[in-house]
């Protein structure tokens, strides 16, 4: 469980100062997100390199606390 994972130019980050544990990210993409101790975490075994980034970005956008940042440049 991590708060940041990356693969090449891609990265996903969860900001625990903002995360308030709604678990919407986990509901949207349980392969990547998990919730423990009322905070969202990233699964270390997620294959970000071959992920559909549109799906990742949609899950990130579901966060009402804007706690998830996705970079894909």
């Amino acid at each position: 469980m991590k708060t940041e994972i990356s693969a090449g130019e891609r990265s996903v980050r969860v900001d625990h100062l903002r995360c308030s544990g709604t678990a919407y990210c986990r509901d949207a993409l349980p392969q990547l997100f998990t919730v423990e101790d009322k905070r969202a975490w990233l699964r270390a075994d997620y294959d970000l390199a071959s992920a559909d980034m549109e799906v990742v970005e949609e899950a990130a956008a579901s966060c009402p606390w804007f706690a998830i940042t996705v970079d894909d440049t």
Binding site: L17, Y24, R39, P64, F66
Partner: protein
């Protein structure tokens, strides 16, 4: 204690008949299934907040009034981003000690002399969140009582539209004056939510004074009476389910957080809110015409037997890590901004009350009166009693 159960069974039979039901009001529909309410709240492209949510009107609200809960994307996201950092779960931790101090002060009066009863709403559940909000906003001490008074009007006004317009306008003026003062004082002069809002940039522009004032009104209305009701409804529910109360009292520290989540599910402060269909849409397999007012019943969603085991029972030990999240704070991008503040307020209040007042219970024979209106669900007062000796401030 029949009144609450009656609502659950009414909503249950409506859900069974049809979870998307046309109401007597010609252009309104009510959604009563968990899945349906979730879809309503997620599909912000079809279902709008900017016509109002208590009773969505025919026209969009004036631009300056399209604030947070009354705004749609992308405007909503820009506004909300300004506030999330100040109200996140980690950030509200710093309010804990001042919350405890406020509760301690209120409880001092509750146990004074040889008292054995008190009004839960008037003496704790109402003044407490109002003081917390005032502190968060940086409201000057001399205005706090007025602030507390005005915050109640929202609840009353929702049941009696028009009656309190003049007082609500006066309140609005006071807040606009406060906002002007903070803006004049500059970004460094104060560390409070009003200052944060005054100087936050949205796409390179500041919010107008009117927009900030509207946000203050909204945060206050949305944050105070709701928390009052959350605390009060939990006290009521614990007495409805004595066996659950025994479990709670045996391990308050361990169970208080799940009791609060269960309170939000079982009998949350907001029964439901409305949206306006911007286009013809499909909702849980039913056709919704353009212009329709669609009310999502949070109360019904929270009692959906497809989602919750023993839905009409107050169960203190539900494992919320394994249970789908309740709709007590709504769902989706408008998820209650004050959720973290409210959770902490409820935790501080309930822990202090039930640890320090032995035998705390609704006064036998007391008949509570429901708050009027279709939106709020709570009691105007809940007279409580407790045993002496053993009571501590």
């Amino acid at each position: 204690m029949g009144e609450t159960r009656e609502l659950w069974s009414e909503l249950a039979s409506e859900r069974e008949r049809c979870p998307v039901t046309k109401l007597a009001d010609m252009n309104a529909t009510r959604v009563t299934s968990y899945a349906g309410v979730k879809q309503l709240l997620r599909d912000t492209a079809s279902f709008s907040n900017r016509f109002g949510t208590v009773d969505p009107g025919d026209e969009e609200l004036p631009r300056d009034d399209q604030i947070l809960a009354f705004a749609d994307p992308p405007r909503h996201g820009r506004q909300r981003k300004l506030l999330v950092a100040a109200l996140s779960a980690s950030r509200v931790e710093h309010l804990r000690s001042s919350m405890q101090a406020t509760v301690d002060r209120l409880m001092h009066t509750i146990v004074a002399g040889d008292r054995t009863e008190f009004g839960l709403v008037a003496e704790l559940a109402s003044p407490f969140p109002a003081h917390v909000t005032a502190e968060l906003m940086g409201v000057p001490h001399e205005l706090r009582d007025k602030f507390v008074h005005f915050s109640h009007l929202a609840e009353l006004a929702s049941g009696m539209p028009g009656v309190y317009d003049e007082e609500l306008r006066e309140w609005s003026d006071i807040i606009e004056e406060l906002v002007r003062e903070r803006r004049a004082a500059g970004p460094e002069a104060n560390d409070d939510l009003i200052t944060t809002m005054c100087f936050a940039e949205v796409d390179g522009e500041h919010l107008s004074e009117r927009e900030v004032a509207q946000m203050v009104v909204l945060v206050n209305e949305a944050g105070n009476t709701t928390t009052t009701t959350l605390i009060t409804n939990i006290a009521y529910a614990l007495d409805e389910f004595p066996a659950q109360k025994v479990l709670f009292l045996a391990d308050i520290d361990e169970l208080v957080e799940s009791v609060i989540e269960e309170g939000l599910r079982y009998d949350g402060p907001i029964q439901g809110l409305g949206r306006k269909a911007l286009c013809p849409a499909d909702l849980a397999g039913y056709h919704i015409p353009k212009g329709e007012k669609v009310f999502g019943s949070y109360a019904a969603a929270n009692h959906d037997p497809d989602v919750y085991d023993r839905p009409d029972e107050f169960v203190v030990g539900r494992d919320w890590r394994q249970t789908p999240s309740h709709m007590g704070f709504g769902h989706g991008i408008h998820h209650c901004l004050g959720a973290n503040v409210a959770r902490m307020e409820a935790k501080v209040a309930l822990t202090s009350l039930y640890k320090r007042l032995p035998g705390l219970r609704v006064k036998p024979g007391f008949e509570p009166v429901a708050v009027p209106g279709q939106i709020f669900r709570g009691w105007t007062e809940l007279q409580m009693c407790f045993d002496r000796p053993g009571a501590e401030a």
